[in-house]
């Protein structure tokens, strides 16, 4: 599901988009809690608090949905990924 590398300005991406996509990509691969996401992102365990904070924010925005105790990419999130990448999310 990788975007084509392209120097074309039209294909540019904001840093905010890039970070968000990485987060969604992590969650998209596997239903996750903050600890799993922190592990998949490779950040230290002590940063879980920040990840949790961010997940809450993405949940509020509707990009993520809570499924019991785990989290998955919601419909809005999937659409967002598609618009960012210009192709269907895996």
């Amino acid at each position: 599901m990788m975007p084509d590398h392209n120097d074309d300005r039209d294909n540019a991406m904001t840093r905010a988009d890039a970070e968000e996509w990485c987060m969604l990509e992590c969650i998209n691969r596997e239903d996750s809690g903050a600890a799993d996401v922190a592990k998949r992102l490779g950040v230290a365990k002590a940063s879980e608090q920040a990840i949790e904070h961010l997940l809450e924010r993405l949940l509020d925005q509707g990009l993520l949905e809570r499924d019991g105790i785990s989290i998955r990419v919601g419909t809005t999130g999937t659409e967002r990924l598609q618009s960012l990448l210009g192709q269907p999310s895996a």
Binding site: M1, H5, R15, E25, L41, A44, A46, Q49, A50, H53
Partner: protein
């Protein structure tokens, strides 16, 4: 019936009174400059207004009219604000001519104003533009002015212009970053007193006094004497910790970390130079953050706090670590004083660089761990200004907040935090913080780790400023009598009799009697005649004449020659007298008490360790003449006793010039002192306080900075051989101390020495010409005097280091604490010892900065001769030698380093 002795007021009382007095002092002398208006043209409504009952309404209408004046009038006023475009840059800055209010009576006010403005320019501070109403309010009701909701317009002061008026230099013009929005309404420009720090300290005191005995601030209540007992606390600190992977800590460092993370209240770590304080602080922070705590890290110096930030972020290059402890926030108003690494974590109220630093680390982590992330980040344009969600989330985590006590409290997230919000406050260089300064930030936490070294620099003590804190302890007449004692004490007995002094008081008879009584009780020899105007019907050549404010001219005429004038506090505005006749604030009793006590407190206990006498300490004998005597109190009819007043003075010293470290466990043994009020200060039951507060303590005994040849002398002279032990065996033979003789030509000024600057330049040129210098060597040039430091800094600027990987910096002795360098060059400047040099703490700092080489540059021979003479004199008398500390240091170093060359 049992009579209970009077209990002294708790320390909190003295802190509150001291803070209030300091605020009063700042408000009493606002720096205000009048902006001269153009000559009023007919009918422009700017004539002087008579003070009539209806004038307030008229004033208000006039001010409003000025704001909407016809264009012609506006242009006339606007012409005062000249645009600065002489260099062709139209940057919006303006020049305005001003006339400062010197009050007509204050000696040295010109210098004070220049210093105040220099500080504003240096710190890129602001001045405020005042309407006539504002200016009047600032003069008459300064407190109300400072609390105005609608603040006057503030602009940045870029520089100022001076002109000589006779023998004094006065400020005549200001250059501001921009002109006023409404030039017509501006009548004056002022440097408004900044009360924020003092008010925050008062707020902290309020919070502690209001808090419950079981609340998080209870230990602080015990510290300042509001509680006799502490809440339950463990008796003993855990003695050890298990080091983390890769963590190298010696047994003393581990024990200090254990004490800091194990305390429920206070932990105190004694950290001599180079003993790994920063490593220990880093280790403490990581452990506290790991257990989910929020930590404030504070130091009074930027260097120390930057060292902590650098220690926490040294793992930055490891892309797999985004740990809250390695993402500190470095709060400061401006980033320019911070180290390059600390600047990466800088944040102020309005801007920050920290987020970008985090952003870079997040990007590196994502590129390394998330499939496809690299391709995505390669698509982010260089000029992208968005902040990623993950970066933002991490940046919002402020588990470790670092800053100076002022910088950290200028940030809302700390300033507005409720008492006890943060789990732990770690303070480095706590020996430089007074108790009120400590409380200002301590109130935000619930546990306190104090790291410092009582053998290094103490809190800064401005004796004249501190003297204000005695105003409610000594009534004005008593202060006046003691100030006469202070003036006479400074003179040698044969000069004392020739004193010519006019003393101005509300009650001349009682004060004249009291001066006589005071002189008798304090056993002052060679006293001049003392009396009122009635006692001197004819012209006199010397004496102390006491008179009322309206009799000053008559009193001055009684003397055959010029006489000085000493005015009772509160009567200054009633006496018009030329500046150069007034006895200034630093010569009055309050300032002399603070200055002499401060010097004695820090030097006298050292005499016993070093088996030597310091001339500085001998000045303590003069203290008795500046302190109230019972005779003076009785003659003035005051309902007070000398022991009570002296105890209050000792407590004010404790509140204003003693560090919180010393208060907790470092007050010298009372046996070291033989003079009041030092005896009262040291006997203020420190053991009782320790029993009450029970801090966990630890000492870092080994040093890892200095080559063994450099640590030997400070270890023996300042630590009694018990700390500053060498932590590693050094094989390096290219290390040690060298003394470099530079003759001091006649006529060399007191505070600068061109010959030494040239010698230092030659040394630096030698280093810069090396083909293969040490990798990354750092050289620091130290001197005690600012003027010399400026000259050395200019010489360094002109030095051509080429591609040599060497950095050279200059620094004064008082600002080098917390710094280190591979090589230190020390410029002595003078060839005769002065009391200023006799502070053991200052010399301990100077001698412990170098890692490999210390080169002392100056008239070494003069100091060696002095030491030799003093030692042989003392040997004959069978006493400890009375000599300067510098002579001692140089003689000891010379004995181990060979002949000077």
């Amino acid at each position: 019936m049992i009579a209970f002795p009077d209990l002294p007021d708790p320390l909190s009382h003295h802190i509150r009174r001291s803070l209030e007095a300091r605020i009063e002092r700042l408000l009493s002398r606002p720096v205000v400059a009048i902006v001269p208006r153009p000559e009023p043209s007919r009918g422009d409504g700017e004539r002087e207004r008579p003070a009539t009952p209806g004038s307030a309404i008229f004033d208000a209408l006039c001010d409003e009219a000025a704001r909407h004046a016809p264009r012609g009038a506006m242009d006339e006023n606007a012409a005062i604000w000249k645009t600065e475009d002489s260099d062709g840059d139209e940057d919006g800055s303006v020049h305005v001519s001003v006339k400062f209010d010197y009050g007509g009576t204050d000696r040295g006010r010109e210098k004070e104003i220049i210093e105040e403005l220099q500080a504003v320019v240096r710190d890129e501070g602001q001045v405020v533009l005042l309407t006539a109403e504002h200016a009047k309010m600032l003069r008459e009701h300064p407190r109300a002015f400072v609390e105005l909701d609608a603040r006057p317009e503030a602009v940045q002061l870029l520089r100022f212009e001076k002109q000589w008026h006779g023998s004094v230099e006065r400020v005549v013009g200001l250059e501001l970053a921009q002109g006023p929005r409404n030039p017509a309404s501006i009548a004056a420009i002022a440097v408004v007193p900044n009360l924020v720090q003092l008010e925050r300290q008062l707020d902290a005191l309020d919070a502690i006094e209001r808090s419950g005995v079981d609340g998080p601030l209870a230990p602080l209540r015990a510290l300042i004497g509001l509680e006799a007992e502490m809440p339950e606390a463990a008796e003993r600190a855990p003695s050890d910790i298990t080091p983390a992977e890769g963590e190298l800590l010696d047994e003393h460092q581990r024990s200090c970390v254990a004490a800091a993370i194990g305390t429920d209240h206070f932990a105190v770590v004694h950290g001599p130079p180079g003993a790994g304080k920063t490593t220990v602080i880093g280790s403490i922070i990581r452990r506290l953050v790991d257990r989910g705590e929020r930590v404030l890290v504070v130091s009074p110096t930027h260097v120390a706090i930057d060292n902590v930030v650098e220690k926490l972020t040294e793992l930055e290059d490891r892309a797999d670590d985004v740990h809250p402890a390695t993402l500190p926030v470095r709060f400061a108003t401006r980033p320019n004083r911070l180290s390059p690494r600390a600047q990466m974590y800088w944040s102020s109220r309005t801007s920050q660089t920290r987020e970008h630093a985090i952003e870079r680390r997040v990007e590196a982590i994502l590129r390394a761990n998330v499939h496809g992330a690299s391709e995505l980040f390669d698509r982010v344009p260089d000029d992208d200004t968005t902040t990623g969600a993950l970066t933002k989330a991490l940046a919002e985590q402020q588990a470790v907040i670092c800053g100076t006590p002022i910088g950290i409290l200028s940030h809302d997230s700390v300033a507005n935090a409720a008492p006890g919000t943060f789990d732990t406050l770690i303070i480095d260089e706590v020996s430089k913080l007074t108790v009120p300064e400590f409380l200002g930030v301590a109130v935000k936490a619930r546990r306190w780790v104090l790291v410092g070294d009582p053998q290094q620099l103490p809190p800064f003590c401005d004796a004249e400023e501190c003297a204000w804190t005695l105003r409610d302890v000594m009534p004005p007449e008593l202060e006046l009598v003691c100030s006469v004692g202070a003036v006479l004490e400074r003179k040698k007995p044969h000069q004392r009799q020739q004193t010519r002094l006019v003393v101005v008081s509300r009650s001349p008879d009682a004060v004249a009697d009291a001066i006589l009584g005071h002189a008798n009780e304090s056993a002052m020899d060679g006293m001049p005649c003392i009396g009122t105007l009635r006692d001197a019907p004819h012209r006199i050549s010397s004496g102390v004449l006491v008179c009322k404010p309206d009799e000053v001219d008559s009193a001055l005429e009684r003397f055959t020659d010029d006489a000085g004038v000493l005015i009772e506090i509160g009567l200054e505005s009633k006496v018009a007298i030329s500046d150069d006749r007034l006895v200034d604030g630093v010569s009055r009793a309050g300032a002399r008490i603070f200055e002499t006590s401060f010097n004695t407190y820090h030097a006298q206990p050292w005499e016993a360790i070093a088996r030597q006498k310091l001339s500085l300490v001998r000045f303590r004998k003069g203290l008795a003449k500046c302190l109230p005597t019972q005779n003076a109190i009785d003659k003035l009819g005051l309902d007070m006793t000398r022991p009570h007043i002296v105890q209050d003075i000792a407590d004010r010293l404790l509140a204003n010039s003693v560090s919180v470290y010393d208060l907790l466990l470092g007050l010298p043994d009372v046996a070291h002192f033989d003079a009041t009020p030092m005896v009262e200060l040291a006997s203020r039951t420190p053991q009782e306080l320790c029993r009450r507060v029970r801090p966990f303590t630890g000492v870092l005994k080994k040093q890892y900075r200095m080559h063994s040849s450099l640590s030997r002398l400070p270890r023996r002279l300042f630590y009694g051989g018990e700390a500053l032990l060498d932590g590693r065996t050094d094989e390096d033979v290219f290390a040690g101390v060298r003394l470099i003789q530079v003759d001091r030509p006649d006529g060399t000024p007191h505070e600068s020495n061109e010959a030494e600057v040239e010698a230092i330049s030659r040394l630096l040129e030698q280093v810069s010409s090396l083909q293969k210098p040490d990798e990354g060597a750092k050289i620091m040039v130290l001197t005690a005097y600012r003027e010399q430091e400026r000259m050395i800094a200019r010489a360094i600027e002109n030095l051509e280091l080429g591609s040599a990987p060497i950095t050279v910096e200059s620094c004064t002795l008082d600002s080098c604490q917390g710094r280190e360098a591979d090589y230190v060059l020390l410029s002595l400047v003078r060839n005769k010892p002065t009391p200023f040099f006799d502070n053991p703490k200052r010399w301990n700092v100077a001698l412990t900065r170098a890692k490999r080489g210390l080169f002392i540059v100056g008239d070494i021979d003069a100091y060696l001769k002095d030491a030799q003479k003093r030692k042989s004199d003392a040997k004959c008398r069978g006493e400890w030698p009375l000599m300067s500390l510098l002579s001692r240091v140089i003689a000891d170093l010379h004995a181990h380093s060979g002949e000077p060359r």
